[in-house]
Symmetry: C2
């Protein structure tokens, strides 16, 4: 690898001058500057960032810690974050935490050892598991921004979607359509899902719509979803709508409803949460709440960058909440008026 010294020799100057020339410093004579730049180009000089990082005490790198990547929510997020980071002049160091204590700690440790300028940490279902490591990192002066829910977030910079508002929107939508027997289905109550449900439940209560225990399904895996859906459709008085906390679960609900011979949205309305690309692949296309990934990523990166550069006006920890939008597609419709109840035709 060719170094500053190498071109310094060729140019007959010292490596300091070469360094300044390549940095376009006004301190070096324009003609020598030009000569040096040409020599550097010819020699294929490529700055050694490792050395530069050591000297400048900055790496122009931000760490991105994500629980997993198989849930399509995360790739979309990563893409946006990468775009914004690149725009701001930062590289990404990606780590997959598997939403696991030890693994998440490892990620933080690695980023800390590599002196990332800042860290974006996306929490998984279990929230912020490596709490103490994050605190230590932040205490040592590396800005950290969390995305997603985390217990006791007072002294952390945080970016999150307003899950509760999203839940409210969906509930209003279903209520407006005339649904009164509504089932909810999702993973165990990690906080994000919990908020979605809270907002959802609040609106139902306002409208006087009950949320029956047998209509509330908690799932751990795909198999649970299948069982849950089967149980729902077999009820004597089955629901006319199902709210799945996540689009990816809604996809499984679709599959199972089809096997049960229940058509969407005629016999059953299904709504999801997140607005993944997946939502438009499904048929019928899924009504959901979302389209906030891009603003989330943007807020995420710009908050971190302003912390890194010390340009954020507000020194106190910030909580940025992005409000998602209701996106009505083809999977929601008014409930079929069972037996044309009012007309008494049944």
């Amino acid at each position: 690898m060719v170094t500053l010294e190498d071109i310094a020799l060729k140019a007959g100057v010292s490596h300091s001058t070469v360094s300044r020339a390549l940095a376009d410093s006004p301190l070096v004579n324009p003609s020598t500057k030009e000569r040096i730049k040409n020599l550097a180009r010819e020699a294929g000089y490529q700055v050694n960032q490792v050395a530069r990082n050591l000297k400048t005490r900055s790496t122009k790198t931000i760490g991105l810690v994500v629980p997993e990547i198989s849930n399509p929510f995360y790739p979309e997020l990563i893409q946006r974050v990468a775009d914004h980071a690149k725009l701001a002049g930062y590289s990404l160091q990606l780590h997959l935490s598997a939403a696991d204590q030890e693994s998440e700690s490892d990620c933080i440790a690695s980023l800390s050892a590599n002196r990332a300028d800042g860290v974006l940490l996306v929490t998984g279902e279990r929230g912020l598991v490596a709490r103490s490591q994050v605190n230590a990192l932040a205490a040592s002066g590396t800005p950290v921004v969390i995305m997603g829910w985390v217990e006791d977030s007072d002294h952390l910079d945080l970016v999150a979607g307003d899950d509760s508002a999203g839940g409210r929107e969906l509930a209003k939508h279903l209520a407006d359509l005339g649904h009164t027997r509504i089932a909810v289905l999702g993973k165990a109550p990690h906080r994000g899902a919990f908020d979605r449900l809270v907002g959802f439940g609040d609106v139902l209560r306002e409208r006087g719509i009950p949320l029956l225990p047998e209509m509330s399904i908690e799932v751990k895996n795909e198999e649970d979803v299948r069982l849950g859906v089967t149980r729902l459709v077999a009820l004597p008085d089955p629901p006319t709508a199902i709210f799945a906390y996540q689009d990816s679960l809604a996809a499984v609900v679709y599959r199972q409803l089809e096997e049960a011979g229940v058509s969407i949205p005629n016999e059953m309305t299904v709504v999801g949460f997140d607005d993944l690309d997946l939502a438009t692949y499904l048929s019928p296309r899924l009504t959901t709440v979302g389209a906030h990934i891009s603003p989330l990523a943007s807020a995420f990166v710009s908050l971190l960058v302003s912390r890194i550069q010390g340009t954020h006006p507000e020194p106190a920890p910030q909580s940025i909440i992005v409000t998602p939008k209701l996106i009505v597609r083809a999977s929601s419709a008014p409930p079929r008026s069972r037996g044309v109840a009012f007309g008494g035709l049944s």
Copy 2:
């Protein structure tokens, strides 16, 4: 940030001794070693990788360049690569090339400047666009392994799926089911898709099944897929099966067939390529060829690592070809015997 020197002072030794102690060198007295380690732990010492990298001329980092991340094939690949890399003790530096000349060059330049120990480069539809940069990087001593198709791959380490074999498998499957009017649909002929088609076509030819021009649809985007499918089903003698080069395209085909009121697999068999998770979300579940992402990733990383460590037995460029498997699901069935043609009932 606490440095070696800091704990050296606390321990009353020189930083060299601390360095050796933490590296478990046998050169340092066991008791002092223990003492130093404790002090380091208490002080929360965290090695500065940047400095270490500079000194050791190695970063324990591999660069992963991927065209995009919205196509679900890539996240699955990234996940596997990350797992294998971690196992081998390497961090990942992710770059998204957008399958674009300038951007891909930028990625390579950044990885080169950051002195990644090696680079894994996944080519997109256009093949290896930053050819010269890759050559320069390789010439400077950084191992590079390419995944996917690339023109004139003789002097490059390469890992790829056997697209041709996959195409053959699918063709055999369709032929065995009794299909004789088969349409193919995919993106413009980048080489990967091309090989899939070649293998597919070879088998059809062997079996005496024609591949009609009007049954060969080239698409650029989703809209093209919709138009193509519409045209296919409107043919006087429409196909009984459609082969989409990629699962993600098959998903769009599904959508359009449904709108056209054509049921899968009764009226139309659809098969894809890649075996993404998506394939099982679709209904009916998609018959496809794949399940080779994990072996691909494994081969990918272990080849690169052996190059980095100089332990690969064979100095000459290697081409590792992974054979995909046919995965039969519910989207393929024998063609409906139109009007029970033989019986003359029509």
